[in-house]
Symmetry: none
Subunit: 373 residues, 2 copies
Amino acid sequence: MKDGMNSRILLDCAKNRILASSPVFRRQQFLIRCVRGSIDHQSQPRSRGMQTLMSLEVHSVGLIRAITPPLDPTRHKGQAGNIAVIGGCREYTGAPYFAAISALKIGADLSHVFCTKDAAPVIKSYSPELIVHPVLEESYSVKEECKKSVASKVLAEVDKWMERFDCLVVGPGLGRDPFLLDCVSEIMRHARQSNIPIVIDGDGLFLVTNNLDLVTGYALAVLTPNVNEYKRLVQKVLNSEVNDIDAPQELLSLANQIGGVTILRKGNSDLISDGDTVKSVSVYGSPRRCGGQGDILSGSVAVFLSWARQHISAADLNSNLSCKNPTVLGCIAGSTILRKAASLAFSNKKRSTVTGDIIECLGKSLEDICPGS
Amino acid sequence: MKDGMNSRILLDCAKNRILASSPVFRRQQFLIRCVRGSIDHQSQPRSRGMQTLMSLEVHSVGLIRAITPPLDPTRHKGQAGNIAVIGGCREYTGAPYFAAISALKIGADLSHVFCTKDAAPVIKSYSPELIVHPVLEESYSVKEECKKSVASKVLAEVDKWMERFDCLVVGPGLGRDPFLLDCVSEIMRHARQSNIPIVIDGDGLFLVTNNLDLVTGYALAVLTPNVNEYKRLVQKVLNSEVNDIDAPQELLSLANQIGGVTILRKGNSDLISDGDTVKSVSVYGSPRRCGGQGDILSGSVAVFLSWARQHISAADLNSNLSCKNPTVLGCIAGSTILRKAASLAFSNKKRSTVTGDIIECLGKSLEDICPGS
């Protein structure tokens, strides 16, 4: 924000074709594409879309500062966030690790993973910082006649911890095993009964798209679809194809149709709606598209959502924030931090940037916005 | 200590409100809260509590210098400490690793972990520096009719090593499986028979609170409860609720009631008592409350306790230390080093500090106090 990005956006790209080979020019083009693709309404002049974008960028910094809790020595372990990721199976182990470690690196005190027995030793070995529970089961390891009792046991294992969590992240590396997804559906129902926010990504979105009742009308649910996941969601809920011309309106309708859940539509610009309002985050990130960045996002959104909820609860009606929905605030903050971290990592590692490099930049990204004492 | 902290404590905070946003001022406030919360008796003027605190800070540096063994090329492997952590089960693997690696990083020569068979490969994978014994068993893997023989085998495996250990740490990541806890109770009884000090944390405190006879009257036992663990201990032993107004007196009574064990009550200031004396450590640490710092503390206390015992034994009556109880000395030194390391790590990593970052600062923290040759 401070580096004059805004002024660069306003340059007339047509007059700068001679600069086509420069990184600055390519960045301009990228930002202008963001603006064209996701913000502009057909009926609005382009400059208005740019203004919307720029004013939002300012807000994202202000709101991150508002919701990030003070680093106060009188606070106890857990008060800055206790996050649980539901994911990790025989096939996938990186995704739940990325989500859970991101939560810690942003500033949560505790980060859990609930995964299958095969996945647990691997996820544990990535980092001793995570608390990894080997409790989920896939169909191949459960006899038909045992499914009911195994499902009860899985649920009981998660329920023991449920009340302690500030937010669940459901989906990173979850896989699509039907028995496992049935268990996870029950976990989501219990979380909902306890009013625990749920961020849903990856295979969690596959589950939810086919079982919309799991989230319909639950204001503390956040869906974070990528292009394909969004397409399936639109087809299922709006019974239509994605309309990029009027993306904000479509997203608003979609969130509305699912009863006011919050949707973060990932793209060049991230678009966020709870069915009531639409926000956009287009802070410059990175052109590197290495897998795993969506997992960082889900962990980040979970932490900021928890902080936003605490902030709003503590501030009551005194908060200066124009938006009072913690899920929307969490999405804006999470998206902003990921983009800043991706940008930082890319400036160091360029084309060889991997997801772990971005995670290592999360701390500095937040520190730049919101310096700790 | 060298950076003028004492003089900062003495500043009048009321006159410095204009500095409220500065880190120095917030640190002052924190130190003053420590003093108010834990040291002052209601009947004493505040300045006396501050003096107590400051005089203790000086002692903690002096005593660390006194008990830390010289780095003498003529010494053999093991003479600087051989520590064993009893902990690590299917669910928890990070905690025993943190405790055991902290012991090594402070300067112990050898660090062992005795854990379950599931946990061993994971803990081994965190670091090749540790000696990890996969000997404990949880109920789910032992048939009822085999329990007696399995328990004997577990005990024999630990007994083979027992005499070599300078201190046990019982509890980090131990879990609460009844069969496993029965075996660990026996291990503690054997350690006690051999006069081996035992530092008890985490699930070890759950075990001990429900089986006080394991430590009652054992002067080489150290309990390191956090807020909740302390609460349960007070309820069980003193049959009352925690009284924060007269915390030092309560701690003294508690340690006395358990027959002179040493208790390190973790908090903004750590309070330490063996039933005879009360000490406090309030060196500035870090406002970050990431899980795992208690595990570092237990490993640190184990090393310093071993060193203090060696020092007192060698110095006989010639030691200049006013306190001659190695468990109290170990607690003061362990608490001081953890706090200094946490402060160092936080100054580098701020809000994204995790437990591993603190462990990496243990060496420098000790070096600052007690430079090696």
